[in-house]
């Protein structure tokens, strides 16, 4: 499942409409979702980011969330183009004490760039810079990288202004238009990411888990016995992908030694 993070209402609205997301009123901040995508409004700056991301993650972590920060960014007219979306491969903060590197592992339809996050709005910059400028990427990576593997954090930034030149043109309609211009490309990329997020990473299937629960219940296994049998079942499943686990008519043990005998019998069966 994808979790889109946006700072501005004007950024989120075209996404909500295009992906037909419905408001989820169970949160006390704006969250919209469908079966594959959640959109969370983080607000501007670092203030709400941590709380909102953590809250949503706690609720949806069983879905292998991939966080995608979509938003506008300032650029340099010499090396970026207004309305063009870039995938971010390097994130610096304004003091450049630390740098993050998003792990870009799936092909995407965008050019790539680095970005620098500033604490306040940058209306002019006195250098021949070759990066984009925003106010949240650094904080978002910092928060997300603590709760999901780094390949599940994506940054897509649409250039909205050339910092020194046309900052005054920015208004909600213009920002929504910038996002709208890139929706088709977003969809192409999202489809791959959604497919990736649905890959099954577990060795055991649901039947195996039920089988283990049953064995555990009947035999009242100790923690170390549970670990042994759990590993045995994993080994069995990796050796025999389509075979069912051996069936046993197990009775509750009448003594410790009886329990151990039964367990040994199960172990032997799983080792074949």
């Amino acid at each position: 499942m994808l979790c889109i993070l946006t700072a501005l209402k004007a950024e989120s609205e075209p996404l909500i409409n295009f992906f037909k997301l419905k408001k989820d009123s169970s949160f006390d901040f704006p969250v919209f979702s469908n079966n594959d995508i959640i959109l969370v409004a983080t607000g501007v700056g670092g203030k709400n980011i941590s709380k909102r991301i953590t809250t949503v993650h706690n609720q949806f972590k069983r879905f292998n969330l991939i966080f995608i920060n979509i938003g506008i960014a300032g650029g340099n007219s010499k090396n970026s183009k207004i309305s063009k979306c870039y995938s971010i491969n390097k994130i610096m903060d304004e003091r450049e004490r630390k740098t993050y590197y998003p792990e870009i592992f799936i092909k995407h339809p965008f050019n790539e760039k680095k970005i620098k996050t500033f604490k306040s709005v940058v209306k002019s910059i006195n250098e021949d810079f070759d990066f984009l400028i925003d106010m949240e990427s650094f904080d978002i990576f910092k928060v997300c990288s603590k709760i999901v593997p780094i390949h599940r954090i994506v940054f897509l930034k649409v250039v909205s202004d050339y910092v020194n030149e046309n900052f005054q043109k920015l208004n909600a309609t213009f920002i929504s238009e910038l996002i709208s211009n890139n929706l088709i490309k977003f969809k192409i990329y999202f489809d791959s990411l959604i497919q990736f997020s649905k890959l099954r990473s577990n060795i055991l299937n649901n039947d195996d888990v039920t089988w283990l629960k049953e064995i555990n219940k009947v035999l009242s296994l100790t923690e170390s016995q549970k670990t042994i049998i759990f590993n045995k079942v994993k080994g069995f499943r990796l050796r025999k992908k389509d075979e069912k686990l051996p069936s046993f008519a197990i009775k509750p043990p009448n003594s410790k030694s009886n329990q151990k005998e039964t367990l040994k019998e199960i172990n032997d069966q799983l080792s074949i």
């Binding site: 491969n89 740098t99 592992f105 990288s145 593997p149 990473s201 080994g235 990796l238 050796r239």
Partner: protein, 338 residues
Amino acid sequence: MINYQSKFSHIYVEDQARDLALSKLVLKKFKNSEIIQIRHYKDIFNRTNQDFQLQKRAMKLILAKKTGPLLYPATDMVQDYKNKNSFYNTPALNCLYNCEYCFLQGMYPSGHLVLFVNENDFFIAINKQLLKLEDPTKPMIVSISYNSDLMAMENLFPIISRWIEFAKSKDNLIIEIRTKSALFNSLKNISPHKNIILSWTLSPEVICKEFEKFTPSLDMRLKAVKSALDAGWDVRLCFDPILILDDWEKIYCLFIDQVMNKINYNKLRDLTLGVFRMNKDYFNRIKKSGLKSRLYYEHYVNNSGTITLEEDLKKAVIKTMKNKIIEYLPAEKVMIWD
């Protein structure tokens, strides 16, 4: 179908490595890659929360300058050859293959490939060590492909050809180049030399297919071994790790016949044997990572921090293998990894 990024779609370059000759050569070769400047290779390689196996699918390249140590004494996981002058070094970290039994998955936090481009510094470290060998009556042996497979990458990064030229210029240095590669052709213009050992790790085809992802088939490797022997190179064969599957005896005996029938075994320098063994921490880390490999769910013992087969089984396996091999090679040419 998921479209993963192609290999080396991104190349991270350390500030201090950018202007070195090997970096320039690599960057020229990968013109379409995204080049990302970094301060230190560990900023990428040592990040927390990485997924080794995913990174193997969409591998990035990191060009870096290695600072000390540039030479390590051989560990007890590496065969010592009963020589106190044995070392290994790391011109690269990780490799293009993805063998399920590989300890690198447990040793490194990242599946990306690091290439150390300051070769001269590695050469200088060896020159210095040559002057202070513990046993000067014996040559210094350096395994240069311990944490990688350099021959497999030779067409992309010409590293071993430079190492071979370096080793040829020394009187008492032997370098061992371990590989599973079939790319012997990459060395076709280089003449063999007594200071170089080419070591091929070979496994029965069923093992290659199931456990040695992205490696060439046994047949391809054998062709490379044959070419190397015919060209006069010193060749070592490594049957290591021997994996205990159902019918392992039959599989490995047929395998030994197959290998020996395809090459002129009289020309082999030697052959090494070893069963599966891995540092306990690496083993547990790999298992915890959720790697879908049955190897990590077999029965092993913890032998002073090394996960391996039970002693009796290990002895039986080695005995069986050795008995079969000495049908072809004199016993003194067969070395066992304890």
